[in-house]
Every structure is written in structure tokens, then in C-alpha cells.
Symmetry: C2
Subunit: 298 residues, 2 copies
């Protein structure tokens, strides 16, 4: 068997297109969705990410608010900015780019953001809403994986899903989403005994551990859908001195067994910003009592 | 093999004894832990439960505040009482006995209770804290099951745990607790395919579906620890016209295979009020910056 390669880049472009259409609908009602991104300090990678988010926000017709604060910004000054953004009716989503400098606390910073504007879905309130079946804003990467799975599989009722990794950012919300889809869900992790055997039960296998090529083809149930969330930089096999991005799955051997698989890069990665835009749109619709877009939420 | 019968009644008595000792310590610091129970209407079963809770609270040396409101109490009046209890420094735990009359909304009622006093662990905030590894107040029944499992098994790292049932009240928090204990956790439910096969993988099997005697001995892995959370009333086999309480597990056949098993009644049931007292003590210690009791929290 040779797996279908799930084209996350194309799918993400479709999501952005849908967001663009929905933003036009919302604008027709006199409202422009707005996303505020806060960057503290000058981490080069963060600068790049924030730039990508800024351009993507503009492209779908939303307003992008960028707030760049010096690296020595006090918690009081950061919180004062977040409070202003919480109160600003033109801002529907707020994202603080992590990591923040060491003197600031990520958990406290997230807790300061109004949960209704927490488009990264990182707050305790949104985790609790997700866990109790409420209208959460869901962390972007698991939401993106859910969209890819729905597109690939349709109804997931009764399927065995295995999530490797139990982080607050990905593994735990991903498990909640799969449970909502009526999967039988197993959460595996570094302390799991015989991980290969656990993986071999999975109709849906989601790997998010950050260990390059850990999942081999013989860990995959024939015909399973494999979602690879890992991104590790490793040496390029053909170009000495060059690097390449590697997923948690050994793509070649897994693709021989799986029914469908996401590549790295070009699989889950492109979905993250698309879902950030989707979440901002959702937050805007909820704030104004407008109908929520179909297919862009959990 | 014949299983160890886990004596929940004796263990719960031990927990109450520990709470009594800790209450004395807290009182020595000039603070008396207080639990407020709110009952709306006159549901006979609820009256009995509230009576049990009242007596148990007094027995461990805490203050019990009972608030009985008429069945036609408005949401505004109920919320005004909850607001007063939230603000009252003598009240460390607040519990609204469910079900409430149909004109009141359970979710909104829970949301009104200060999460720091939500000793039933039902609020979105406590679900989110549990899901993100924070200091949650954890729903009493799963907390009780955790205590029994810790006592029985000690370190649970790497064990395969299967929870049948995905309710907000039990299944989902139980899964979170087992994940914290480093188990590989599977959540199964009514849509699970081949539930028997899923159960047979479990080193720890927790059944909470409310279907009498559903789990048979041949669903149990030899030596597994079986926790039976179900309580259903069924006809008594020997006394015509009489009833008896049944668990989700067929006790006799499961006890032949399991390493340890909780009976129904006398297993998980007695732990619930004991954990309510433990949660009230924990909430009191947190409110006053006192050292938390060992072994009484997640």
C-alpha cells in the first residue's frame, strides 16, 4: 500500500480562502475582525513568526495590530498593554508570542488575556471549556489536525485514536478533540510501555513528541491515518553541511503502510497560522453575536 | 486467582480520620474549615445526601452551613446567596446539591461559585486547571478512586489504564488523574468498538457507565486492578420483591480474574463524602496559605 499524502499546504490555503470569504460577510455587517500580536524582545525566530502572522492576517482582510515591546518590559507594562487590548472592541484576538524574556511568566501572561480573545487557546478557561464540552477557543495546531482528519475521514465514530505526547499545548487538547469525535482515545507518552504495540492499534495515529523519525512503518496499522506533528531539524542525507526538517515519523516506511499521512514539512505546519486566523474570526463572530463559520471550529 | 477486595468503607474512614487530625492542626492556627451546602427544593434523595454531608462535616470538626431554599427560588436569589458565600471568609467550600429544579441551570450555577471554593470540582476553571497541571480542586469521585489506586498500587508509571465513560463529572477527570500518574490512558465509551478487547489490555480498569454488570470476568486482564464506579439498583436474586445495588462489573466473575477489585456497595461510594471533606480542607489551607495535607489531593 502507498499512502495518500495529505497536502496541508493546499488545505491551509483553502481554509484561508474560506476565512477571507467569511471576513467579507462580517465586514458587510460593519465589523472588521482584528488580531493583536504582542512581541516582547527581539528573538529572531519570533520576529519571523510574527511577520508571517501579520501578513497572513492582512491577506484575509482582517486588521493586524502589532505591539513590539523592549526585552526589559516589566510585567506591569505588559499587563497594562494586555488590559488595553482586552478592552479594545476592535481587537478580537490577542496572541503573545512565546517565548517571552525570562523575567516574564508565560502562565501569568496567558491568564491575563481575556479568554474570549485567547486565540491561541492556551488559557485555563479555554482548556476547561474544551474539557467540559463548552465553546472553547482551541489551540491552533490540534485544531488544524482535527480539520485535516475530518477532511480525510469524515465521521470518526468508533475509530481507535492514539496520541503520542501529553503536552498542554498539543497532546491533551488533541485527545479531547478526538474524544468529541467519538473516537476511542489513548494518550501515550514517554513513560508508555511498548509504544510500538500501542501505536499498532491506531486507526488514527497522531505523533507529537519531537523525536525525529521515532515512529517506524512497523508501528503503523495498515491503512491508518498518520498525522505527524513533530518538527526537528536534522542533517540532510544528500547535501553535506545542509539541514532538513524531520517529523516524528519515518516518512518513507510509514507511507508504505499507512492509508494517509502528513508530510513534514507541508503537512500540519501550514495549518497553524490558518487556524489562528480561523480562531480570530470565530472570536469576532462570538463577540458580536454573528453566526459562526462552518467547519472552522471544533 | 481470587482478587483482593478493596474495602472503600475502611479506607474512607481512614481518610476522615486524617482529615480530623488535619482540621485540628488548622484550628490550632485559629481557623475552622467551613463547608456550605445549598439545597434548592425538597427532593427526598437530595435531603438524605445533604444530611449525610452535614453530619460528616461536623464529625471531622469543620463547620457545616446548610442553606435550604424553596423550590421556586429564582436564579437571582440563588446567585445572591452564592455571592454571599463566595465573600464569606468562614466558608471555604460551597456545594450546590444537584439536581436543582428545572427552572435553574446547573452549568450557570456552578459558574457562579468561586473556583477556589468549588469543592465539587465541577467548574470550567477547575477542569482547566486539572487539564493543564495546575492546582485544581478535583471532582470527589475520581479523587476517591485515585486515592484507592495509589493505596493499592503505589507508583502507576507505565501501567495501561482504561476508563469506560467520558462524563465531565467522572470519566474525563479520572483520565486526567491517571495521566498525571504516568499511566498510558485510554478513554472508552458507548461508541467504542470491541469494548471487551479494549478492557482486556488494562492493568487498571475503571468502569463508570451505569450499566449493571456489563463488565464480565473475561473482559479483565489477569491481575488487573478493577475500580467499579457504577451504581444501579436491580432486583435481588434471593429475596423476591427486594432490590440490591449493582456495579458496572459482574463482581463474581471479575473477582476470579482481577488482582484487586472494589465491591458495590462499599467500594468507591464511601470515598465520595470523604473526598468532599478533604477538598474543603484543601481549599481552606490554600485560602490561608497553610501547608496542604499530604495524600488528600491529586
Amino acid at each position: 500500500m502507498t499512502a495518500t499524502i495529505i497536502d496541508g499546504k493546499a488545505f491551509a490555503a483553502g481554509v484561508r480562502g474560506q476565512v477571507t470569504t467569511e471576513v467579507e460577510r462580517v465586514k458587510a455587517a460593519g465589523i472588521t475582525p482584528g488580531l493583536a500580536v504582542v512581541l516582547v524582545g527581539e528573538d529572531p525566530a519570533s520576529e519571523v513568526y510574527v511577520g508571517h502572522k501579520h501578513r497572513a492576517t492582512i491577506e484575509v482582510g482582517m486588521t493586524s495590530f502589532e505591539h513590539r515591546l523592549p526585552a526589559d518590559t516589566s510585567e506591569g507594562d505588559l499587563f497594562a498593554l494586555i488590559d488595553r487590548l482586552n478592552a479594545d472592541p476592535a481587537v478580537h484576538g490577542i496572541l503573545c508570542q512565546f517565548p517571552v524574556p525570562a523575567h516574564l511568566d508565560e502562565r501569568r501572561t496567558v491568564a491575563r488575556i481575556d479568554p474570549a480573545k485567547d486565540v491561541d487557546g492556551l488559557s485555563v478557561t479555554n482548556a476547561g471549556l474544551l474539557a467540559t464540552g463548552g465553546d472553547a477557543l482551541v489551540s491552533c495546531t490540534p485544531l488544524g489536525c482535527l480539520m485535516l482528519l475530518r477532511d480525510q475521514l469524515g465521521d470518526m465514530t468508533g475509530l481507535d485514536a492514539v496520541v503520542i505526547g501529553r503536552s498542554n499545548l498539543f497532546g491533551k487538547p488533541m485527545a479531547q478533540l478526538l474524544l468529541r469525535e467519538n473516537c476511542t482515545v489513548t494518550i501515550a507518552h514517554s513513560r508508555t510501555q511498548d509504544l510500538a504495540e500501542v501505536c499498532r492499534r491506531a486507526d488514527i495515529l497522531v505523533a507529537a513528541v519531537g523525536r525525529a523519525q521515532m515512529v517506524r512503518g512497523d508501528w503503523v496499522k495498515p491503512g491508518a491515518t498518520v498525522i505527524d506533528v513533530g518538527i526537528t531539524r536534522g542533517p540532510h542525507p544528500d547535501k553535506p553541511g545542509k539541514s532538513r526538517l524531520l517529523g516524528d515519523c519515518d516518512f518513507d516506511s510509514c507511507a508504505e503502510v499507512a492509508g494517509a499521512i502528513t508530510p513534514v514539512p507541508g503537512g500540519v505546519g501550514p495549518m497553524t497560522i490558518a487556524c489562528l486566523l480561523a480562531n480570530t474570526l470565530t472570536a469576532c463572530c462570538r463577540a458580536h453575536g454573528l453566526e459562526e463559520p462552518q467547519g472552522l471550529t471544533a
